[in-house]
């Protein structure tokens, strides 16, 4: 539901990702559609294996074989980027779309000074001399809150703590001023005590630079505090997407309810919903109809036969047969 007044920064339309293995094809992402506006923070949540990382990897064109985009399109500022040749996409990575991964301890090459890695990245994308890049790199390290940055610039990654290394990684992701950052669980590997600092830093930097963020996380607290909108993924599909208050406080999709541990607005299945029983199906055993139906307390016949697709419900979009085309909740759902 992008507003017609301005073009979304990123648009993902009906994205399909499949793994082509010896035992046939596995559908890992199925009809994933969403957009991110300039400067916006989109939170992405969902159980492990839901397809969050694959979505991020597809956007920056770093799906690893045998994974492949087999359908849909990805547009950056209205231009398709999913079918670009490798070299053109490379120039977009880091320059237009930055990425931050889970583990700061292993994201940096241990054999190169932190400064070398920053200068290298800057000079890959921007026409700068060694000195200019160095100056900018030191400023960046200051900006991400590394004390005595000029001196630390020439240190090796192993001389930094985990939290400091993730700050360096953030500096690296930001150093060519990308318009979008894909942050895939940027704090999961960190000490709990520094997670909040890193998220606050990321949020501040992106606000200051006007950078949009796709923030993948398992932490609902972080989502509530940081995201503008939230996408909930389940078994390779988007179950619900909408403004953060709506998704967190007034979740429409039964799966979102369970994730948020929220009390449902209506219905008799209160106890079952507070905790989702069972596990998300593996890719080779996704049930027909709604993938969530074996675990869903509200499931009815239609759920086992037809795949629900995203339909607008107020300001959100929800893929659940409990809602009809007008966005109203069906009362006679329990068939």
């Amino acid at each position: 539901m992008s507003s017609p007044s301005r073009q979304p920064l990123l648009e993902v339309r009906n994205l399909r990702v499949e793994f082509f293995g010896r035992r046939g094809r596995l559908l890992a992402l199925d009809d994933v559609s969403f957009h991110i506006d300039p400067g916006e923070v989109l939170g992405v949540v969902g159980e492990s294996g839901a397809g969050k990382s694959l979505t991020g990897a597809s956007i920056i064109g770093l799906l690893e074989p045998p994974g492949r985009i087999s359908g849909g399109e990805i547009l950056l500022e209205g231009k398709r980027i999913d079918n670009l040749p490798y070299e053109e996409l490379r120039r977009i990575r880091g320059r237009q779309i930055g990425a931050i991964f889970q583990d700061p301890l292993t994201s940096l090459n241990p054999l190169y000074r932190v400064g070398e890695q920053i200068v290298e990245t800057i000079r890959t994308h921007l026409p700068m001399s060694e000195q200019q890049a160095r100056k900018r790199g030191i400023e960046l390290l200051q900006e991400v809150g590394i004390p005595s940055a000029a001196e630390r610039f020439d240190h090796y990654p192993h001389q930094f703590s985990g939290g400091m290394r993730q700050r360096v990684v953030i500096a690296l992701a930001l150093c060519a001023e990308p318009k979008l950052i894909i942050a895939d669980e940027p704090t999961t590997a960190l000490d709990v005590s520094i997670q909040a600092q890193i998220i606050t830093l990321l949020k501040r930097l992106c606000r200051d630079h006007g950078t949009a963020v796709m923030l993948v996380t398992h932490d609902m607290g972080v989502i509530a505090e940081t995201a503008d909108r939230v996408a909930v993924m389940y078994a390779g599909r988007i179950a619900e997407i909408g403004p953060v208050q709506d998704v967190v406080k007034r979740a429409r999709h039964p799966y979102t309810h369970g994730l948020m541990g929220a009390i449902p607005e209506m219905g008799a299945d209160i106890d079952k919903l507070t905790q989702i029983e069972g596990a998300m199906p593996r890719l080779n055993s996704i049930p027909p109809g709604c993938a969530f139906n074996p675990r869903c307390p509200s499931a009815f016949d239609r759920c086992r036969e037809e795949k629900p697709y995203l339909l607008p419900v107020e300001r959100s979009q929800v893929a659940c047969w409990l809602y009809d085309e007008t966005g109203a909740r069906r009362e006679a759902a329990h068939g």
């Binding site: 490379r90 977009i92 990575r93 292993t106 994201s107 090459n109 054999l111 240190h155």
Partner: protein
């Protein structure tokens, strides 16, 4: 780091003393050195006098000390077989072996690393599979067989290259080199391929598996996400990270090349230390054997020291761990 080097030096000295003792033991306990020097008709008194004058009746420790002191000055006595000072024999043979070993090692490292990088980066290409199959053959065929096959094809059947000897050599001071004449260079080709092939396949397989491993790491993924060029990723980030194990193995292999040269030199009648050693074994020429043993040990020890120092140059994590900060 200084402490580390000192420790390594101490170890090196220990190793050298052990080897020296073995060489010394060969001298003293394998056969009777006097027997080797004098004729059948020398009287027992004369033998005893000679024994006394040579200091062979001195206590063992004293004799060993003298042996080490002499060895340290390159003094190993006189060859039983050729009646020439061992040091001169070794010096004459040394250039041939060193030139052969260096060319073989260069071939092994250059082609080993290149093929390793290629097969590691593109594991599924047809050419990679071809190189791997060939390398399997290289690993499993014995050196002498490879040498004989090469001689058969290039010397006997095609008549392109000589099958034995060093060709024409040019003397520069005491060093004789085959690099400066066409026939010298031609003579080097087959032996150096024979000698280097095994190490080349070894290095290639090592670089390949390291490369495959490194390409899966997070920092390579992150380097891609930063939009670095393939060249920077493959040859900057990935290759450098494969270097530590490659340096170790290559260093050790260099020692092995010099040791294995015995076989290659025999096959190609290459007038180096290996050939000298084999001929000495046939004649139980203990002084030459002892000198060879010690020289090879010195080469091994020096190479190991250099390898250790290279670690520090390549991997900053081994250097003094300063400046690790808290959160």
């Amino acid at each position: 780091m200084i402490a580390f080097i000192l420790r390594r030096l101490a170890q090196a000295v220990l190793v050298m003393l052990t080897v020296a003792f073995i060489a010394f033991a060969m001298f003293n306990f394998v056969g009777d050195p006097i027997n080797n020097m004098v004729g059948q008709d020398t009287s027992l008194q004369d033998r005893e006098a000679l024994r006394q004058s040579l200091g062979l009746n001195d206590p063992l420790v004293l004799r060993f000390g003298r042996f080490v002191a002499n060895a340290a000055q390159g003094e190993f006595g006189v060859s039983f077989r050729l009646a020439e000072p061992v040091s001169r024999l070794i010096l004459n043979a040394l250039p041939a072996t060193m030139e052969l070993a260096i060319v073989a090692a260069l071939l092994a490292v250059i082609f080993g690393v290149m093929l390793g990088v290629y097969t590691g980066l593109y594991p599924n290409r047809w050419l990679s599979r071809f190189f791997l199959t060939i390398s399997l053959i290289g690993v499993s065929l014995p050196t002498f067989l490879i040498g004989i096959l090469l001689i058969l094809v290039f010397a006997v059947l095609l008549g392109l290259l000589p099958s034995f000897g060093r060709g024409e050599v040019v003397r520069i001071g005491w060093w004789s080199t085959g690099f400066l004449t066409w026939s010298g260079i031609k003579a080097l080709i087959l032996p150096s391929i024979t000698l280097g092939l095994f190490q080349m396949t070894l290095i290639m397989r090592l670089v390949r598996s390291e490369m495959l491993e490194v390409m899966r790491t997070d920092y390579i993924k992150f380097a891609r996400a930063r939009g670095l060029t393939n060249r920077a990723i493959n040859f900057g980030h990935a290759l450098k990270n494969t270097l530590v194990p490659v340096i170790t193995i290559t260093g050790l292999q260099l020692g092995a090349i010099i040791a294995f040269a015995i076989i290659t030199e025999t096959v190609f009648q290459w007038p180096g230390m290996g050939l000298l050693f084999i001929q000495s074994v046939q004649f139980a020429d203990i002084p030459v054997m002892a000198a060879y043993l010690i020289l090879v040990a010195v080469i091994f020890v020096v190479i190991n020291l250099i390898v250790d120092l290279l670690y520090f140059a390549v991997d900053p994590r081994l250097r003094i761990d300063g400046g690790r900060s808290g959160h």
